[in-house]
Point group: C2
Chain length 184, copies 2
């Protein structure tokens, strides 16, 4: 059955296409991507949705066990979809804020500001990047101290949580979640 350029994915979200007209891997969930490329039917994708989303809650992607030619250890993992990419990037961004100096120098502040701006230009999911760029414009990064920056990042993540109908995170716990852990 032909499945040419559907507008909406199994998730109910709009399918994002690259400039060359192909569905964008980094901008769609794996299931929506597979649906848009005709690899799976809408019915099959819908029945897989439950399992896939519970799997994606904790995993970083590749569940494939088949190895790439000539390799004993490297599995044929799928390229990150928008969710794996998102979790990976928040891991990095929150950990960066957790390791930001408590008393940053002017240079450290200006490097971090520049890093966040560049990040918003080159982030592989185009609509996420635009949203982050707008967030940066409307909410200048608070870079006066580690705690300020950690909370700013937590707020930035919560804006995305709201957009995706996810529960927000209580930012009073940002340091336990991303720096100290829960048992101290």
């Amino acid at each position: 059955m032909a499945n040419s350029q559907p507008q909406e994915g199994v998730s109910g979200r709009k399918i994002i296409y690259d400039e060359d007209g192909k569905p964008c891997r980094s901008c769609n969930t794996l299931l929506d991507f597979q649906f848009a490329t005709g690899k799976i039917s809408g019915k099959r994708a819908a029945s897989a949705t439950g399992a896939a989303s519970s799997n994606s809650a904790g995993s970083l992607g590749p569940t494939a066990t088949e190895k790439i030619p000539g390799s004993k250890t490297h599995a044929k993992g799928d390229p990150p979809d928008v969710e794996v990419l998102g979790r990976s990037s928040w891991n990095l961004l929150h950990t960066i804020s957790a390791n930001y100096p408590t008393k940053p120098s002017d240079r450290q502040k200006s490097e971090m500001k520049q890093f966040l701006q560049l990040f918003s230009h080159i982030y592989p999911c185009s609509w996420c990047a635009s949203d982050f760029e707008r967030y940066l414009r409307d909410h200048a990064p608070k870079l006066g101290s580690r705690d300020e920056f950690g909370r700013w990042m937590c707020d930035a993540h919560n804006e995305v949580n709201v957009k995706l109908n996810k529960e927000t995170f209580d930012c009073n716990f940002w340091q336990k979640r991303w720096k100290d852990g829960w048992d101290e």
Copy 2:
């Protein structure tokens, strides 16, 4: 039993301490961190090593099911250790290279060069950051096209694989692994 500032972790690698004298979460494996903080004994950590490393091969972190106070969905996940942080960051970096333009403008080249330099300054694992900074100095990023950049990133990752005694990845497959997938 007191366990004050051990030099070497259960992994056999040197324990990295922050400037304040505490073990660095983002620079050590979770087990080495727990060993250095006296949370687990060397014996218990050693017996856990097998299970933990097979778990960490695919997961992006939190295995905790207990929720943070007041939340229905946010689990008390551990802050990323050096391995979770590493996998997350390679996910992001390879996907960035996979979405780099096939014919980048001068501005896009210069922004990416700057991004990589800043990345090497602020990456939360200090010894990883220094190694990446040195790699950038010795191997200027190849930013003439997507394929050039994707291969450069694959080579950079392989240098780390060698350092960690892991199998290198055949960079002829970089685009399948990080952009196109294996079934086209």
